[in-house]
Symmetry: C2
Subunit: 511 residues, 2 copies
């Protein structure tokens, strides 16, 4: 049994008699109060459960199962069913992303994932990226309402799809824990998110209350809680990631880097947590690159240069339609290691037929009809440098070096799909033992699941937020200086990348 | 300032700055947490207030008033307004009667009543009296839903009418406290009330939770709480009456009698409270009497016999259409004192032209075309005897006599309008000093108001219910015996009524 946000309790009640004619509600509440787990808790009987009580008790000869949800302070009986249904007990958790909403039905008895679905965020209708949506909603309450409804629609779609796949009635669940960045949570709550973007970055809320699902417009019995965030650009998705990775509990220092729309960074251990965020996102995911695309069918996701030829792998083994983040990283690593591109990101004309000039730009053809230009490379280099510089700058501030770092986490889909070796080669990752580089997957979702399974983690998350020291990178001169130095593959200071030097030497290509 | 269920707090917040960019929600919650009254309380920011916060704060340069409602455990900010609106602060209380719903808007600053309205309970459509409604709803969920909606409709009408009369927006109120009998509360919550009527009288609930008004279908921002009841026939209206009269706090013993649809009785003081209920109602209100009617225009409400003539007063000085409770009591007292009726309720033929025989029945004409028959008198006598016997039986059980009783309360409209003297003459009231007989008015409503003005009284009411010992009168042999003795005006044991004996002697009419 977990200490989860949803509880099911089987009760064998005595039927009313002349000697014991307590009211039904008293009978149920007293029986629950006798349970160890609710002995010191406040428990109330919700109106829907109260209305069903009569029928359910009589139907089952007073043997009933009560489902309780946690409202942040106490428990509410949300549902009563005839007989013992404690075996069938699920809760929901979700990662509310700007592109994708991932939702899981979690077995509240053993903590296992009973089903997982992923749907596109319908907010995309109102704007492909977050910034477009923020401007779309600004000063237009009706647009904001559209975004809110789209978030609700996305969550509802995910619930329906979960039910279709698993047979679990998501609407009957007593709890839904959501992780998302500050903007996504603002939209879900119906709050204008322009504050996220505008100085002094005082947002409307970073610590949403536990709401009744119905208050948010969700057709679900239970309660909804969104993991609290630390700042405008450091939202509940990252705090949730802390919970998922356990970084704040370990002695060893970790670096946690989440590359998505923005780059979000936390460095710390059980003694300290420093965090910050910066624009280090879209280009790495293929957003700014001309033939870049999402990791969908037909996207080049792996690249090798052998015998002077570029060979690619595509998702679904389909005809190449573009290149996604992991493909870009491998492409650049291969171009660099094979001497097709120098450390400044300049393509070397003549090294291969694949490198050619078109419209005053040098480009490399990585698949029939698809090429990657020096301008694309520069875009990528800039964001790679930004991400790397955030890490370096923050480590300097803390006064540690990469040697002090036990684990280097690269969260999200990006971290999951990029080859570690290629990541190091182009200087996106530091040159450390490869086992210290960890791809923890969707830590936003994983953290939400951990929160769902333990009500105690609500307070933990709230304390965690207070512990996190937020650094504004902004226009620090030092930052700009460091970033200039990082504008190379893997770095202008190649001494930091001994394993890349080694590989170049092996290939007979000393710098 | 009262410790009420609704609070208004004026806050002068600092605007966000680079140095202090706390989220708006944090800014508000921290400012409220600094107030003495909320220092140890749990306070949450409701979704509606959160959504309005941005606009309200900017509009008012961060000088806002927050309205908080009590949810039974903690506080929720339900509304924010620009500027200081603490002077305009109202809560609602209501007496949910089967015939009439009375609602008040209460000034939460000084406890005064800002407005009071009374509307007919629309449930009358589904049945004139409670028992008809109980059978109407039994096994017909759609009928039950109709009754529930009618209760909501009645409360909503009252809210609208209050607003029309006072300008106070009832929907903006943070709290509504309702007192009503167990059946009325069942219907409001959407619960079948057949249990109220059927052994073993285990009802669905006697202690409703604090609900969000919206959960009950009421269009109102705040929370609704119904005063808890003690038993099927001893509901929240009587518990509320205890709070209104202060009986459970005083050293002196009180008798509390509420005559409505049923007769409800509590005897006690700060050391004990014994209660019970019985069928002692409708006849006293004119329900069973042939020309009986409610206390409306045209109802005879006062009667005098002078110089051998019956003179009556009608409500609104209109043409007499029937007779209401207070009229009946005065009529019977006058008939008895003037020797037109004997102590067994037999009319004396020949004593006046007004006494006549018709269809084998002796009747008395009290107004043109309107008469009161011996059968009517017997009905009245039976219920008068039942009420008196409840009191006597319970006093015997406790081991006290009327001399031990400091105050004899007759609650409700009945007690308010009946002449004390006439009440004693016919033996409805005991023959004690008249100042010990108290008509406290609508104690159900008054108690609801006291609850509204003090959140601490919620727990007090809950403890009170536990303290009240409930007696089932039912088929106790002793009870039947005592009732036989009470079947006379004022009583078969005339020695109990020395002042009536005195009056008869004065009139030269020794028994």
């Amino acid at each position: 049994m977990f200490n989860g946000w949803s509880r099911k309790v089987y009760l064998e009640l005595s039927a009313p008699s002349e000697e014991d004619n307590r009211a039904d509600s008293t009978r149920v509440l007293e029986a629950i109060g006798e349970r160890e787990e609710f002995a010191r808790a406040s428990v109330r009987l919700g109106i829907a459960a109260l209305r069903a009580l009569d029928r359910v008790c009589r139907e089952s000869e007073w043997k009933i199962t009560a489902t309780l949800g946690y409202d942040g302070d106490g428990w509410e009986i949300l549902r009563v069913e005839p007989g013992d249904t404690t075996e069938c007990h699920y809760g929901l958790c979700a990662d509310l992303g700007s592109t994708t909403i991932v939702m899981e039905a979690v077995n509240m008895q053993d903590g296992s994932v009973a089903g997982s679905v992923s749907v596109f965020n319908p907010q995309i209708r109102c704007g492909e990226d977050i910034l477009t949506r923020i401007f779309y909603a600004k000063d237009h309450p009706e647009h904001l309402e559209k975004l809110r409804l789209a978030a609700v629609e996305g969550l509802s779609q995910a619930m329906k799809e979960l039910q279709r796949q698993t047979g679990i009635c998501a609407e009957d669940c007593a709890a839904l824990i959501i992780s998302g960045n500050t903007t996504m949570i603002h939209f879900l709550l119906g709050l204008d998110a322009f504050c996220v973007f505008q100085t002094p970055y005082a947002v409307h809320t970073l610590a949403p209350e536990v709401y009744r699902a119905s208050e948010l417009g969700l057709s679900m019995r239970g309660f909804v809680w969104c993991c609290p965030g630390r700042a405008n650009y450091l939202g509940g998705d990252i705090v949730s990631g802390m919970i998922a990775t356990g970084i704040p509990e370990r002695e060893g220092i970790s670096v946690f880097l989440d590359i998505g729309t923005n780059g979000e960074l936390v460095i710390g251990n059980r003694d300290f947590l420093v965090c910050g965020a910066g624009a280090a996102g879209p280009a790495l995911e293929g957003g700014v690159v001309k033939t870049g695309m999402r990791a969908e069918e037909g996207a080049v996701d792996a690249v090798k240069i052998t015998e002077g030829e570029i060979r690619v792998h595509t998702i679904g083994n389909a005809r190449a339609k573009g290149i996604c983040g992991s493909g870009i990283v491998e492409l650049l690593a291969e171009l660099f290691l094979n001497g097709w591109m120098d450390l400044r990101g300049k393509l070397i004309p003549g090294v291969s037929d694949a490198v050619f000039e078109e419209e005053d730009q040098v480009k490399v053809r990585y698949a029939p009809g698809l090429s990657f230009s020096e301008q694309d490379i520069q875009e990528f280099l800039k964001t790679k440098a930004a991400a790397g510089t955030m890490v370096e700058y923050m480590m300097n501030q803390i006064g540690i070096t990469m040697e002090d770092v036990e684990r280097f986490y690269v969260a999200g889909a990006f971290g999951t799909h990029i080859s570690k070796e290629a990541g190091v080669t182009i200087g996106l990752y530091p040159d450390i033992q490869r086992e210290r580089i960890v791809s923890p997957g969707n830590t936003s979702l994983n953290g939400a699941r951990e929160l769902l399974l333990d009500v105690g983690k609500k307070e933990y998350a709230e304390r965690l937020v207070e512990k996190m020291e937020y650094i504004q990178f902004g226009a620090v001169e030092d930052f700009v200086h460091l970033m200039g130095a990082a504008m190379a593959f893997p770095h202008t200071d190649i001494e930091r990348y001994p394993s890349v030097q080694e590989e170049l030497k092996r290939r007979g290509r000393a710098l």
